[in-house]
């Protein structure tokens, strides 16, 4: 591997993605608006059941999280990051198909994994700033008081979640090389991930059988780590289990993505489906 070559590829793809993203200004406005009602629906679903104090008391007793609005906000933010990766990096190769550039890209000697990682990082950067805005805004609207004792734990939680989510994006992108229906598959994956990873409720609320599915999703551990660090004053030691699992997922999905991409690219080249819409 030639680091200078990989860096050139990474930088070129990253900058191209940011340029393409910022050339659609209407989209930026749209994605700033839609998560707020999404959060509001989730939080008011709880509020409809009683006073804030009574609901917080029940949630705290049952699940050990005292702040239900904070629980929903953290869950939604991590989910939005996942969603951004799925629709950014995950369908990056499908987007190349739509733009008519996938063949031009695959004719270059650039390392495909570097291309996909650059797509993942750019998706994250694109998503992070508006997710940050929503985070601050929703905190102000719903008046959530964070309980933070370790900023290192928060930084570690964010970093580990991002690394794991980038690998999720890389894995999906690899998998979507073969299919021409990446957008439909990405849509189909939205609701199940939102449900099983406990975006708006703790996964302990799920029946035991369904919890097994939650445990195989990296989004679950990202949400758990961030909830502990932001809402219950958790330090690095208290989230180390989640952090370790996030890195295991990152490694596993990257390796799986590499071999999937290799195998599916070969199959697409054999069948001649690489360029088809």
């Amino acid at each position: 591997m030639n680091p200078a070559k990989e860096w050139r590829t990474f930088k070129a793809v990253f900058l191209r993605n940011l340029k393409l993203f910022t050339s659609y200004s209407a989209w930026i406005v749209a994605i700033l608006i839609w998560p707020i009602p999404l959060l509001a629906v989730n939080i008011y679903s709880y509020k409809a059941l009683g006073t804030d104090a009574s609901i917080s008391s029940i949630v705290s007793r049952e699940f050990g999280i005292s702040n239900f609005a904070g629980m929903v906000i953290i869950g939604t933010i991590v989910y939005l990051l996942y969603n951004r990766l799925l629709w950014g990096a995950g369908i990056s190769l499908q987007s190349e198909r739509w733009m008519g550039t996938i063949e031009a890209l695959f004719m270059t000697p650039a390392n495909r994994m570097t291309v996909l990682f650059a797509c993942g990082v750019s998706s994250l950067i694109e998503g992070s700033w508006w997710i940050g805005c929503i985070f601050i805004l929703s905190w102000m609207i719903f008046g959530v008081e964070p309980s933070i004792t370790s900023w290192v734990a928060i930084a570690a939680g964010i970093l580990s979640t991002m690394v794991a989510l980038i690998s999720v994006g890389v894995f999906f992108a690899s998998f979507f090389v073969l299919t021409r229906a990446a957008d439909q598959m990405a849509s189909a994956l939205q609701a199940p991930i939102r449900f099983f990873s406990g975006v708006v409720f703790p996964i302990s609320a799920l029946p035991q059988l369904l919890q097994f599915i939650s445990y195989i999703l990296p989004v679950t551990y990202g949400i758990q780590a961030m909830r502990k660090a932001v809402l219950t004053g958790g330090d690095v030691a208290s989230i180390s289990y989640e952090l370790a699992l996030l890195y295991v997922f990152a490694l596993g999905l990257t390796v799986a993505g590499y071999f999937t991409l290799k195998a599916l690219e070969k199959q697409a080249k054999r069948k001649g489906t690489l360029y088809m819409y």
Partner: protein
């Protein structure tokens, strides 16, 4: 033979041996619910050889043409050579590297230019497109910047280089396509229908550029696919004629035309031609081939191309037959054989069909 840049061997620039690519195509479902269901569960597929045991070599610095009608296998051949497809049989090497086993080295050795609107990021500027691809080819920034400026000047796009590609005309996009294939300064260029759909003036600019600048000045090895016979005739040192995935002739344009020189060619402009007379024309003694190209089929208007061994004998019988069938002869011209005639004599069809 000297060793090319980046090449491990003193072999031909491009070598193709028994190259074969077979695609599966789903057959139309049969009528009836049961048959339709069966077709969904286990669709019947037929195998089509898009490229069928093709052999050729391209020498260093040669301008080599692949001429054939749409669907003949030209683009599939290009895709096999630039590693977008893997061969089912046979092998090919580019710059001495095997396309199946040394794909990365093959890609480094190539510049590929496709025709049409695809392959560029329309929301980026022309310069940004070139920069992006130069980086993917690992060209250092201090080399890429002056090279991109020079390339933009070569095709007279320097004044529009910082505009988004979506604002370019078709001809400008195509010029950008051509120089995009040169950002890595490759020794070998694959040009896949680079003038497709361009107006005559834009097509001429591209043709002059690839012939004069790329081949004559920069000594690039060029594989050019086209279904425009005049273009192949004008540009190529040697031409392989491809039809239904097979190479049916390979030689210099002059030699290909010489191969049918014993035949005389006549082109007759007609109206009110009766299509059923086409087969009758072929029965006239000494007529070897008769092909009709309609300009307006509703009124039987078009051109009949005749290949015959002795036109002096054939023309009176032909005119008699046409007039008897109700056709009106507008013009009759004897001409020298073209590459189109070579194709007709070999396949009984026109290139543009």
């Amino acid at each position: 033979m000297r060793t090319r840049r980046g090449s491990p061997l003193a072999s031909p620039a491009v070598q193709v041996r028994n190259l074969t690519k077979v695609f599966e195509k789903a057959q139309k479902p049969q009528k009836g619910v049961a048959a339709a269901l069966r077709g969904k569960i286990r669709p019947l597929k037929e195998k089509i050889a898009a490229v069928d045991h093709v052999n050729f070599e391209i020498r260093e610095g040669e301008f080599f043409g692949l001429l054939g009608p749409n669907g003949a296998g030209k683009t599939t051949t290009i895709k096999l050579l630039c590693t977008l497809l893997v061969p089912d049989e046979g092998n090919a090497s580019v710059n001495g590297f095997d396309v199946a086993k040394q794909a990365e080295q093959v890609r480094k050795s190539l510049g590929v230019v496709t025709g049409g609107e695809r392959g560029l990021y329309w929301r980026l500027t022309g310069r940004e497109n070139l920069w992006f691809f130069s980086q993917l080819y690992n060209v250092p920034g201090d080399v890429a910047r002056p090279r991109i400026d020079a390339l933009l000047r070569l095709v007279e796009l320097q004044d529009r280089a910082d505009e988004q590609v979506e604002k370019y005309s078709r001809g400008m996009k195509q010029r950008l396509h051509v120089i995009k294939g040169l950002v890595n300064d490759p020794p070998i260029l694959l040009l896949d229908e680079p003038t497709l759909g361009l107006d005559p003036s834009s097509a001429r600019v591209i043709r002059d550029f690839v012939k004069e600048r790329l081949q004559k000045e920069q000594h690039k090895t060029i594989l050019h696919t086209t279904h425009y016979m005049e273009e192949a005739d004008q540009l190529c040192d040697r031409i392989a004629i491809i039809d239904h995935g097979k190479i049916i002739a390979l030689d210099t344009p002059a030699n290909l035309k010489k191969s049918i020189q014993k035949l005389e060619v006549a082109r007759i402009q007609v109206t009110q031609f009766n299509p059923s007379d086409q087969e009758s024309i072929k029965t006239i003694e000494r007529v070897k081939e008769a092909v009709v190209e309609y300009t307006d089929p509703t009124v039987g208007a078009g051109q009949i191309t005749i290949h015959a061994e002795n036109l002096d004998e054939v023309i009176p019988r032909l005119t008699e037959l046409l007039v008897k069938g109700g056709a009106k002869i507008i013009a009759l011209q004897e001409s020298k054989p073209s590459l189109e005639d070579v194709f007709i004599s070999m396949t009984g069809r026109r290139l543009k069909e």
